[in-house]
């Protein structure tokens, strides 16, 4: 940052990673087909959601248990479809199952470091450059150290790019609560990471 021109960060509208969730009528056809046990529909539903489910599980429970949790989620999805009442979008319901399964898994297992013996304190503070190739790795490691609740909201909103409304529906809390949780989660992450550096993109 120079003296003559101060770079003031400007808001950037968060771009969702993918499109807005499907309308309920499209979900309904897919769900109906899966309930009939149609193998193709089930496989299609799986492919549609596999990356998000696995990704969320991975970032909440870590790489070692992600697959197990993701499998558990899908089994619950297909077994629970019969009782799914459609009062939320299919995606919201599935992500809710994912977050719940991940958090339960963590609670059962007890928190434990995923990344070898290296603690965050040993990670050298990054130089103040805006593009830091090591940043991604440091963020992933810091995520592990966050309390699970904060981890979940960061994964849903910042990593997966879901809106506040969707996050609130998934976490079954109010939008306001979601927003303040997000703020606290980011603050906690920043404490863990130390100076990140550089002006935003």
């Amino acid at each position: 940052m120079t003296d003559t021109a101060i770079d003031v960060p400007t808001p950037v509208l968060a771009e969702p990673r993918t499109r807005v969730s499907a309308t309920l009528s499209d979900d309904a056809q897919l769900i109906a087909a899966c309930r009939r046990g149609e193998a193709r529909a089930m496989e299609m539903l799986y492919h549609q959601f596999k990356r998000r489910v696995f990704g969320m599980a991975h970032r909440i429970v870590g790489p070692n248990d992600a697959e197990e949790v993701a499998q558990e989620v899908f089994v619950r999805v297909f077994r629970g479809l019969a009782a799914f009442r459609g009062d939320s979008a299919l995606s919201t319901w599935i992500y809710r199952l994912t977050v719940n399964a991940s958090l339960s898994h963590l609670a059962r297992r007890g928190r434990r470091q995923e990344v070898g013996d290296e603690t965050l304190a040993d990670v050298p503070a990054a130089p103040e450059v805006s593009r830091d190739p090591g940043l991604a790795a440091r963020i992933e490691r810091a995520l592990v150290e966050l309390p699970p609740g904060y981890r979940a909201i960061l994964v849903l909103h910042d990593v997966e790019g879901l809106s506040h409304e969707e996050c609130a529906a998934i976490l079954e809390c109010r939008v306001g609560t979601c927003k303040s949780q997000l703020h606290k989660a980011r603050a906690r992450m920043r404490e863990l990471l130390g100076p990140i550096g550089g002006p935003p993109q």
Binding site: T18, R19, Q29, R36
Partner: protein
Amino acid sequence: MKFVLLTLGLLAAPALAEPATKPATKPATKPATKGEIVERSRVEIQPAGHAFTNLTVDNPLGDVHVEGYDGNAVMIETHKHAPDDDTLDRLRVSLVPSADGSVRISTLVDSGKELKQVARSAVRIDLVIRAPRKARIDAATSAGKLSIENLDAGGELDSASGSISVKNVSGELLTHSVSGATSLVQVFGSVDAATLSSDVDLDSINGEKLVASANKGRIAGRRVMSRDIELTTTEGKIVLEAETALHGHLVVSSLHGDIDVHLRRHGAVNVRARGGKVDLGQPANLIEHTAGWTVATLGRSSDPMASIELMSKYGAVSLAVIQ
């Protein structure tokens, strides 16, 4: 739930008169040339209640071929081409049958990971469809070929740069393309074919009305027997072999293109022509010049009269009549 259904199914099976929906064949995934993956699969849709009356196909990602046959089901073969599995996953075909007897088939590409781009040329979905003869077809492609064959209820075909090909179809037919060559062969019914910058080729057309236009393209017609014919180009040549219908009308006009008509007449015809150069192929005593038009009446005026107008602003007009 599934178990309950299965049991009921086994009990109910002997009572069923018709075979169940044929299970789709497992998709065959095999590597094609140059590290491309091709996946083929087949699906059959049986109508629940009414037979299928309308088939709508929207495929911006490849070819569409629809063929009529004697049967009630719609059978769809999809051929997907992609450079890798991830991209293949993104290629979707959607099938929506409705209670009113229509089926809508469309293709699309899911938006993928933010940072992974796939070029349009790298992916493709071709559809080969067999449909009941009586189904009306409403189909659209972009650069892919669009062809229909052996159908009885006409339809509307739309492409951007893909060629359009129709063979042995009856019913009212509309085709439009920006730059796709259009070919209609053996069509019985009213036809309206329009292109912007490609040729229109007509062979064995019969029906009430035939309207064809090309902006920058040629029109060629053979064995055209429709009652009312209107052919128009801005720049291309028009060549027509036609038979007049009693009390029929033929209007051929172009701005820059030459017009060359061979006519077999039934009954009398009244011809008016205008152009850079006009040759009606008639002896001088049959020809009049009125207000810039070259006019001739052939046959007995007591016979049913068909009217013919040939106009090219800057091109040559020629007519040959055989009885």
